[in-house]
C-alpha cells in the first residue's frame, strides 16, 4: 500500500496546475469563450484526447492512467471544463479505435474529438430495454444500401447530434445476439423523425427516434454483419463505471455539510440536529467506502490486474448512494427542499431536487439496478442463470 505519486507524476501534476492557472480565462462559460476553441487547446497540450493517436487527431501520448487521473482531479478542483464529453467521444471513439476500418478512423475520430461532429446512441427500443438484444429495428440490404425501419427510445441528444451509432437487426434468421449490426449514419438522412421525451426533471434529456425507409450506404458498418452485439457490449461496460464518480459524491457531501451549517431551523443550524447529523455521517461513510473502492480499481488498472467483483458493484452502489445523498439534502431543507425552477428562496440552484430525480433515472438507465444484481450474482458470484421458460 503506497498512495504517494512518483516524482514524474508529481511533476506532471505541477505542470497541469500551471496550465490551468495560465489558461483558465479561456475555459468556456455562458457568454464566454467557445467550447470548440477550448477543446482544440486541450488536445494540443495533451489534456484531452490524450492517448488517441496523432494520426486520428489526438495528442498521441502513451496511456498512463495516473496522468489521466491527475488531469481529471485538477480540472475538477479548479471547476473548469475538462473538455468536451458526450457519447461520441466517450463511447464511439474507443469503439472505432478497436473495431473500425482505417477509413472510418480517419473520417470520424478527428472531427468527433474536436467537437465538430456530435453523436447520439441508438440502442434501446420500446420493447428492448433490459433485454436489449431483443431489439427489432430492421435493416435490410437493398442493393448497396441498408434500408432501416423501426424506432429507438431514450436517445439522449438526438436533437443536437449530427450522426448516430445505431444497433439494427440485419440478420433476422440468426440467433438473437448474432443478428445485430452496428451502423453509423447521418441524422440528416431522409426518413428520420425525432420527438423529444420530457422526463421527470422537466428537461427533455431524451428523445424518441423513428426510422422510415432510412437509406444508409452499405459500408457504414463497424465490425462485420451480425457482430454488432459484441461491438456494443465493449462500450456499455465503459459507460457503467462512469455514472457514479465518488470524487463528485465527496464534493457533494461537503456541499451538503456546508448547507447544514448555514441553514437554520428554529434559529439553530440544522447540523445541530443529531438525527440529520447522523444521516450525514452515514452517507459520508458510504461515500468514503466507494472512494476507497475507486482507488483500488485505479490501482488494478495501473497494474493491469482484473478487479473482479469490485468493479461490477460500482454502478449499482454509486447511483443508489448518490440518489440517497440528494434525498438527505431535500429532507434537511424541508419545505425549502420542494422549491424547483425559477423561484424565490431556491437553494443550491435547485440542484438537490434535480439530481435526486436525475439519479433515479441513472439507477434505471445504463442497466437497471435489478439487471446489475443479476450480473453481479452470475458473473461475480458464479450463480447459475435462471431456468429458461419451457415455451421460449
Amino acid at each position: 500500500m503506497d498512495l504517494s505519486y512518483s516524482p514524474e507524476h508529481e511533476a506532471f501534476r505541477r505542470e497541469t496546475v500551471a496550465f490551468i492557472e495560465a489558461n483558465k480565462h479561456l475555459a468556456p462559460r455562458p457568454g464566454g469563450p467557445s467550447p470548440l476553441a477550448w477543446q482544440a487547446l486541450l488536445i494540443e497540450k495533451g489534456y484531452a484526447a490524450r492517448t488517441i493517436p496523432k494520426a486520428y487527431g489526438g495528442y498521441g501520448a502513451e496511456p498512463d492512467i495516473l496522468k489521466s487521473r491527475i488531469i481529471a482531479e485538477e480540472f475538477a478542483k479548479a471547476q473548469i471544463s475538462p473538455g468536451m464529453g458526450g457519447q461520441g467521444i466517450s463511447m464511439l471513439v474507443p469503439t472505432l479505435l478497436e473495431m473500425g476500418t482505417e477509413e472510418q478512423k480517419t473520417q470520424f475520430i478527428g472531427p468527433t474529438l474536436r467537437g465538430e461532429l456530435l453523436w447520439c446512441q441508438g440502442y434501446s427500443e420500446p420493447n428492448a430495454g433490459s433485454d436489449l438484444a431483443s431489439l427489432a429495428t430492421k435493416g435490410e440490404l437493398v442493393g448497396d444500401e441498408w434500408v432501416i425501419n423501426g424506432q429507438k427510445i431514450w436517445t439522449s441528444t438526438a436533437h443536437l447530434a449530427h450522426w448516430i451509432f445505431c444497433l439494427v437487426r440485419t440478420e433476422p434468421d440468426a440467433a438473437k445476439h448474432e443478428g445485430i449490426s452496428f451502423l453509423l449514419f447521418s441524422m440528416d438522412t431522409p426518413g428520420i423523425e425525432i420527438r423529444p421525451l420530457v422526463d421527470m426533471t422537466g428537461a427533455a434529456n431524451f428523445n424518441e427516434v423513428f426510422f422510415t425507409d432510412v437509406r444508409v450506404p452499405k459500408d457504414q458498418i463497424v465490425g462485420k454483419r451480425g457482430q454488432g452485439w459484441q461491438v456494443a457490449n465493449s462500450i456499455l461496460r465503459h459507460e457503467r463505471g462512469s455514472l457514479a464518480d465518488p470524487n463528485t459524491m465527496l464534493s457533494r457531501v461537503n456541499a451538503l455539510a456546508d448547507m447544514m451549517k448555514s441553514e437554520t431551523l428554529d434559529g439553530r443550524p440544522v447540523m445541530d440536529n443529531p438525527i440529520y447529523r447522523d444521516r450525514l455521517m452515514q452517507i459520508q461513510g458510504r461515500v468514503l467506502a466507494m472512494r476507497c473502492n475507486d482507488l483500488r480499481l485505479l490501482s488494478s488498472a495501473v497494474n493491469k490486474q482484473n478487479p473482479g467483483v469490485a468493479a461490477m458493484v460500482v454502478k449499482l452502489q454509486g447511483t443508489e448512494l448518490r440518489h440517497e445523498l440528494e434525498a438527505l439534502a431535500i429532507d434537511v431543507l424541508g419545505e425549502l427542499g420542494l422549491l424547483y425552477g425559477d423561484t424565490p428562496r431556491l437553494r443550491g440552484h435547485g440542484s438537490w431536487q434535480r439530481d435526486y430525480m436525475y439519479f433515479l433515472g441513472l439507477i434505471i438507465g445504463g442497466g437497471t439496478s435489478q439487471i446489475q444484481k443479476n450480473i453481479i450474482a452470475e458473473r461475480g458470484l458464479g450463480m447459475p442463470r435462471e431456468a429458461k421458460l419451457a415455451s421460449a
Binding site: 500500500m1 469490485a310 458470484l381
Partner: protein, 360 residues
C-alpha cells in the same frame, strides 16, 4: 501508487488462514465454547509461532515490527475463522499502549512476553468511548477505584486500563483489591468481563496522553472493522455455496432472482468495505490527519454492512441458517460483538462528526 496488499501481506494472511483451518476452524471454536475454556492455549501458541502475537512489536522487543495494515489483515483472518484467541487486546492494543506510553523498563519487561505469546493482556477502554451507568475508573490517593466494563481479552494475566482522565495504567490480574467478574455475551469466542477496583496499586504508563488514548481507540476500531470484514465475507461465501447446492422446485435455489439479488446486495455492500478497511488501516500507519475520522467510518460502516450480511446470509440458508447444526450463528454473534465494542455505529458516527467540527 499501489492500493492493495503487498505479496508479503497476501502470504502473511494466507499462512494465518492455513493455520486456522488446520486448527479445525469452527470445530475448534465449538470446543472452546462447549468446554468453557478460558484460553485456547494451542491456538495462541500457533499464532505466536507465526509471529502474530508480536506483529506490531518492534524487533528490539522480540516482535516483527510490522504495520497496522498487517495487523488488520490478520484480524480479518481471525474473524473469518471465528477464532477464539486473544488478539485485539493482547497483540495490538496492549503492545501499542506500552510502545507509546510505557517506560523503557515497562517495554523491556512486558513486550517480549506478549510477543512470545506467554502473556495475555486485557484492555479496558470501554468507558473512554462511552461510559454506561456509573462505570469508570479513577485515581484516588494514588490508587485505582471504580469499575471498568467489557474488557477486551478479559481472560488475561495483566490489564491495561484507561481511567476517566485519559491516563493508562498497567495492573496485574491478581493485584490485591481487584475483583474480576466474567460477563457472558452472545459471542462465546470473545471472553469479556468487568474489573472492580477497590484501591488497587497500579503502574501508570507515564507518557499517557489524550493523543495516545485516541490512537488506541482508532486502532481498536479498525481491528474490529477488519474482523467484521472477514466474518461477513465468510458468511457470504457460505450463503452463495449453499444456494448452489440446495435444490427446491427441481433446481438450485441460486437460479432464483430473489436469492441472487440477496447475494448481489451483500457482495455489492461488502466488497467496497475491503478497500475501506485497507485504507483505514493504512491511514493509521501513514495518514495521521485522516486516521481518526477514517477509523470511525470504517467501524460504523463495517458494522452496518456486517449486520446486513449476517442477517441476509442466514436467510439464504432458510431454516438451516437458524440452527446450531450449520453454525452460522457463531459468525452472526461475532459480528454482533464487533458492532457494539468500542462504540456502536451511532456513537462512532457522532465521534466522526465531532472530529470534523460538526458537533460540539
Amino acid at each position: 501508487m499501489e492500493f492493495g496488499l503487498s505479496q508479503e501481506q497476501v502470504m502473511l494472511q494466507a499462512s494465518v488462514e492455513r493455520f486456522l483451518a488446520d486448527q479445525g476452524g469452527l470445530t475448534r471454536t465449538r470446543k472452546f465454547i462447549g468446554e468453557g475454556e478460558a484460553r485456547a492455549h494451542d491456538v495462541l501458541e500457533g499464532l505466536a509461532g507465526l509471529g502474530v502475537m508480536g506483529l506490531i512489536i518492534p524487533e528490539a522487543f522480540g516482535g516483527v515490527g510490522l504495520s497496522f495494515l498487517d495487523a488488520a489483515i490478520v484480524s480479518e483472518a481471525l474473524g473469518r475463522f471465528v477464532t477464539p484467541a486473544p488478539y485485539v487486546g493482547t497483540a495490538v492494543l496492549a503492545p501499542l499502549a506500552l510502545m507509546r506510553a510505557g517506560s523503557e523498563a515497562q517495554k523491556t519487561e512486558w513486550l517480549p512476553k506478549l510477543a512470545a505469546g506467554d502473556l495475555v493482556a486485557g484492555v479496558a477502554l470501554s468507558e473512554a468511548t462511552g461510559a454506561r451507568g456509573d462505570a469508570g475508573v479513577r485515581l484516588k490517593d494514588g490508587k485505582l477505584v471504580g469499575t471498568a466494563l467489557f474488557v477486551i481479552d478479559y481472560e488475561a494475566d495483566i490489564f491495561i486500563v484507561a481511567d476517566l482522565d485519559g491516563r493508562l495504567h498497567l495492573v496485574a490480574a491478581d493485584a490485591p483489591g481487584l475483583t474480576r467478574t466474567s460477563l457472558k455475551t452472545i459471542d462465546g469466542t470473545r471472553p469479556t468481563g468487568e474489573l472492580t477496583f477497590e484501591g488497587v496499586s497500579a503502574e501508570v504508563l507515564a507518557a499517557s496522553s489524550p493523543a495516545v488514548l485516541r490512537e488506541l481507540i482508532d486502532v481498536g476500531r479498525v481491528m474490529f472493522a477488519a474482523d467484521i470484514l472477514g466474518a461477513a465475507q465468510d458468511m457470504l461465501d457460505q450463503a452463495v455455496a449453499y444456494s448452489k447446492e440446495r435444490k427446491q422446485f427441481e433446481r438450485a435455489i441460486a437460479t432464483f432472482q430473489a436469492v441472487k439479488h440477496m447475494c448481489a446486495e451483500m457482495v455489492a455492500a461488502l466488497e467496497p468495505c475491503r478497500a475501506m478497511v485497507w485504507y483505514a488501516a493504512y491511514a493509521l500507519d501513514a495518514l495521521p490527519a485522516e486516521a481518526s475520522v477514517t477509523a470511525c467510518h470504517a467501524k460504523a460502516h463495517l458494522s452496518e454492512v456486517g449486520t446486513f450480511v449476517a442477517r441476509r446470509s442466514t436467510e439464504v440458508h432458510g431454516g438451516m441458517g437458524f440452527t446450531d447444526l450449520v453454525g452460522l450463528h457463531y459468525w452472526f454473534k461475532r459480528i454482533g460483538f464487533d458492532r457494539q465494542i468500542l462504540g456502536g455505529p451511532q456513537t462512532v458516527r457522532e465521534d466522526a462528526a465531532r472530529l470534523q467540527g460538526f458537533s460540539s
